[in-house]
Symmetry: C2
DNA sequence: TCGATATTCAACCATTTGGTTGACGTTTGC
DNA sequence: GCAAACGTCAACCAAATGGTTGAATATCGA
């Protein structure tokens, strides 16, 4: 059916939204400042920010009349782990999978 | 603007397509066999496989009347690298991996 | 208080997406 | 040769997506 990964990957599928995430990597930003480099309306950017918020990739906090946008990189973790499982366990080499688990478990990190 | 990441993330946004990729992780499969566990038409699965092929995530080779589907995990590399730029994912987080598996396997249809 | 700034909302539009069904072309096995 | 199996194609549909504009709301600064 669906999973929490659905809205994350869907949000990442749009280049405008990926660009927004990259911008927020440097610092928190107000909605108007997020919109500034893009050649589209503020309302469109507001919608994109809504999609990113719904996916959990950013959070928004209103202070005064300004709404600040903040990256929430933890939301990428599930998606990242899902993808890595393909790179590392290609052709489901079960031996490799178990070696991977052993290494991960013995490494306190 | 667009980038080669667009179709990859868009393809991953659908749970049916992610389930198909997981199946192909175990072995190459014929289209009919890919479709078997899903409660939708063969034509719908054929379209999903087309989306995955367009994204480069699988390849398809016809032998006789059977078309074989093969995972192409390298296509995930670009997306993976993009996500690494957000840091914090250098090592696979096993807790997150297990949470992911629990969710992903429990709502499979 | 008033005007400007910040942001969202509502209505609308075109395009894409994910599904259906039925017809169609190939390949296979008897 | 012919029916069955494999898979796609074309047409259609409903819903979601990504954008627009204009009005609305809330806050700030003077």
């Amino acid at each position: 059916m669906s999973s929490p990964l659905d809205p994350v990957f869907a949000a990442l599928a749009d280049p405008t939204r990926r660009a927004i995430l990259s911008m927020l990597l440097e610092d928190d930003m107000a909605v108007t400042d997020v919109a500034e480099p893009f050649e589209m309306s503020l309302a469109a950017i507001s919608k994109h920010l809504g999609v990113l918020t719904a996916a959990g990739l950013i959070s928004q906090e209103k202070r005064g009349r300004v709404k600040w946008c903040k990256l929430e990189p933890d939301a990428l973790r599930g998606a990242s782990v899902w993808m890595q499982s393909f790179g590392q366990f290609e052709a489901v080499n079960l031996d490799a999978f178990e070696r991977f688990l052993a290494v991960e478990l013995s490494d306190d990190s």
